[in-house]
Symmetry: C3
Subunit: 395 residues, 3 copies
């Protein structure tokens, strides 16, 4: 379809993203999500055609990362830069930001000339998303009192509950792979736990995936060894979504069984909910000895499930032996990054470039989240961008 | 007043800011300071009206921070970004910068395509401001010898003597609160020491405040427990300023007495001059044991003055019981950030948002300092900006 | 010559820089190097005349620095910013990047909206340049598979073999000092080892200098105490270059003898090839004790050659007693940065500002490398820049 027509079609999507933070996909309507996907797609096409969608002459895009990150950091920086905003890191190394009373002060202090804030906070259960809402409330207050000329929009770059920029990039990838959202109906997707030699990986990716993809009529199967439960409330959301969308949602306990006839597999390690709870309590107490013991216990527990590796043997069981393999990267690859991991080297290699494509949608998903937060009528603004025809590169 | 007229009025202000570093307010004329206030105000209005004052297509704004900072860092970044400059941090973690012979080399090495340099160096008495002048001299030499195509302007983002971006933001806040600089005449401002559980807070804020606000005909009272003296030369400046401006300057030793009938109170902790001298000597010797002992001695001394907390009881004594409370933030708030601090929680809460507004002027004060350093005729350039009418956000 | 004519003349230079990484000067043709010099010169003149050569509305310039750096970091940032790109650091502190299998993944993950990548990796012998080629191969694959919309260009910001941005800046400095490249013919340049109290300085500068300057018909003499050999293959390249260019290349073992009648001297410390090999092996084994012993051995060995200091006595022996002194900075200056170093304070002072000018070409050399990598027809694009006449500063 022509770019002009793609933009025109946006007018029919009744989304309510303007001035709304993007914190959890399940707080967003179908039309909100559709709008994000479409705008991301259009922004990508504009960039690919060397048309600059720069819509800011100045403005900061603050990033708050509470742990290291390469791909999300670069995705966010790329998205902000594409629209004309300058990233300013609020690293904890550089300056302290804390929970509690000082959040509302700091949130305002960094926002006087800020348009958007991206936050990644996935370390403690019950904390990350809560923290984002604290920042949001502080910004609301500052904006209401005219401390801030604009209300900076917040984008969740991963929290304890959801990883919406990842799951939405995954969804756009699926849309491209299968031709349309419509085509996802009836497709079987297996979100499976997988073995990893590390401990304590966040639950936000599997939670984000089951909560989002159940909305598109897919048959979503969540597979994990007994004991590796996710946050129950989010599993409930997935169940309800599946009902509403005409798909299905199922929990099972064998990777090998689960992947049978799957169209899509997403094998990925995580630490279970109850362990995360225990870990969060120990962290809050500062109990290092306890944390050490917990890690040992968990690694021993994990080691019982080394056969939860996705490999050619399991791949053969999938639909036509060629289910689409997905991963948020980096994967723990057996004999590459570790001696036993989430996926075998040969299987990963078959889909390696596909996972790069999958990741490549993230900057545009983020850009679309920023864009729809800041512009009331995306179609109108995108049309102006198209008409202006400013070259991104060259004169 | 209309923006157009505000800009027109600038023509009458005979300031000499062009190509001059901004290191200490007391080196600047009344008209210099007026120009900064007016340009800051105009830049803020332009931004609020979505008109971009971008005047650079490229150029670096180097920041040299010798200690952590959130609000000044973001203020500087916002100011530079607003005008079209890109912040490049010169962190000591990233690259060494030292006093002495290498300063002049490094100053040139980071300045080939640099327009402005913001420096924060408030750790050692007698060092911070001196360091800025070393950098300035090195840039003068490099510019004279055509090593540098432009002479980058230097802005003092806090030193051992002054904190001009803070005091000027405070002045603009007062101007807005009281309607005009003229209205500040005869108003009583109390710059008071306050108790804090920490030790070694810089003197630059109280020094900056007394040296600047005595120029506006105010009755400035500096209150502190005996022994908590500021740098004597700067106190002298404040005295002389008060004489010249028709205001008054007084030193007293009871917060409770001082705040009586005050229009404005600024309760803030600092470490006294003689302690800073002692500390600087110990730091230069690398005497850690000595520093530890000094800290213990000072904390014990501070603890005698826990009643130097600003609270509702004291607030009642001020003019109509509602003096404007000011603080450079973050404040040590009793029962919030500490068990006993500079201000009670309930009193702080009454003025919390006011302190955010106060801080909100800082990015524009910095932007005005950069702007007036780089443009000879601010009125002319601002007029062009107004006529151009480039949208900051949107097309 | 007029800028317009300078640009016109570019059309005659048959360079092949478009879409080619700049990794080693000896992989580049004479015309490639000439093009870089000319474009650097033109970009500098444009900047000096307040004409903005901004050619990107957005895009990242990623920098990967594996050790601290001030001048190269700022040179790269300045170059990128001048053209409209935003620097995004990929610090190892911020995010892990490793050799091996993960390089290809990370290289793609940081490149979705990236135009150029500058890499500095000079720690281990046989690793730095190899790493750049690993990144390059990964980008080629990603671009071929349409993971990346553009193939980011790579610029070597210093590796174990070459330091092309330094040597090219040095060459441009020489061209300016002597009037033309033609005038360099028959000039005697001495690249000499010099004493330093530190150990393990990279060989990339002397290697870069002898391999590049032998291409211009100069009489290049490489002087060092026996045992301080450079990488043999690169010495061979210098020899062959000298033959082809009609100059000469000679190795000798006395700084005092070597500098006789020299037109240019470049006294600089380095650690010898065989020590670098030994050091790399120990580093790879993680043998800290072994590294400590090696350092002691080397420092003792170095100490035998404290008379390899460039000073007024030696300077008198040069052509007319006034050979041009060069250094990549920072130099180890006797009685300034150390008690005994590469150069005496009085001699260094005579050429100090010259070394600043020398360093000042680096941002433009880098900008020219980025520019010629991204624009197929530099003359055409530069002409458009000239015609557009966009002010860099001001409206």
């Amino acid at each position: 379809m022509k770019l002009k027509n793609k933009i025109k079609r946006l007018k029919e999507i009744k989304s309510k993203l303007y001035k709304k933070d993007f914190l959890l996909t399940w707080e967003k309507s179908h039309e909100d999500l559709e709008m994000i996907l479409e705008v991301a797609d259009i922004l990508k096409e504009l960039r690919d055609k060397n048309i600059s969608p720069k819509v800011f002459q100045s403005g900061l895009a603050v990033s708050i990362f509470r742990d290291n990150s390469t791909r999300t950091r670069f995705s966010y920086a790329s998205a902000a830069n594409l629209l004309g905003l300058e990233v300013q890191d609020m690293d904890e190394e550089k300056s302290q930001i804390a929970h509690g009373e000082t959040v509302r002060e700091t949130a305002n202090m960094i926002s006087f000339l800020t348009d958007v804030i991206g936050i990644r906070d996935d370390m403690y259960l019950g904390e990350g998303n809560k923290y984002m809402r604290e920042v949001a409330a502080a910004l609301d207050e500052g904006y209401k009192d005219k401390v801030l000329p604009n209300r900076p929009g917040i984008v969740n770059l991963q929290c304890d509950m959801d990883h919406p920029t990842q799951s939405m990039a995954d969804l756009l990838h699926l849309k491209k792979e299968f031709g349309s959202l419509e085509n996802l109906k009836g497709k079987k997707l297996v979100m499976s736990w997988a073995y990893s030699p590390s401990y304590g990986k966040p639950m936000s990716v599997p939670q984000g995936i089951i909560a989002l993809l159940t909305r598109y009529g897919m048959d979503v199967e969540l597979a994990y060894p007994k004991g590796y439960e996710l946050i129950p409330e989010i599993v409930e959301i997935a169940k309800n979504n599946a009902k509403e969308s005409g798909g299905s949602f199922k929990i099972s306990h064998s990777m090998k069984e689960a992947v049978k006839d799957a169209d899509i597999v997403y094998p990925k390690s995580w630490a279970p909910f109850h362990i995360m709870q225990e870990r969060t309590e120990l962290l809050q107490k500062g109990d290092k000895a306890g944390l050490g013991k917990l890690e040992q216990r968990c690694l021993a527990e994990n080691a019982k499930f080394k056969d939860w590796e996705y490999n050619d043997e399991k791949m053969k069981l999938t639909k036509d032996g060629k289910a689409l393999y997905m991963h948020c990267l980096p994967a723990d690859i057996t004999d590459v990054s570790c001696t036993a991991g989430e996926v075998s080297a040969e299987t990963f290699e078959k889909y390696r470039l596909k996972t790069y494509h999958e990741a490549g949608f993230k900057p545009y998903i983020i850009a679309a989240m920023l864009f729809t937060n800041k512009f009331k009528n995306p179609a109108k603004t995108l049309n102006k961008i198209l008409k202006r025809g400013l070259k991104r590169k060259g004169i």
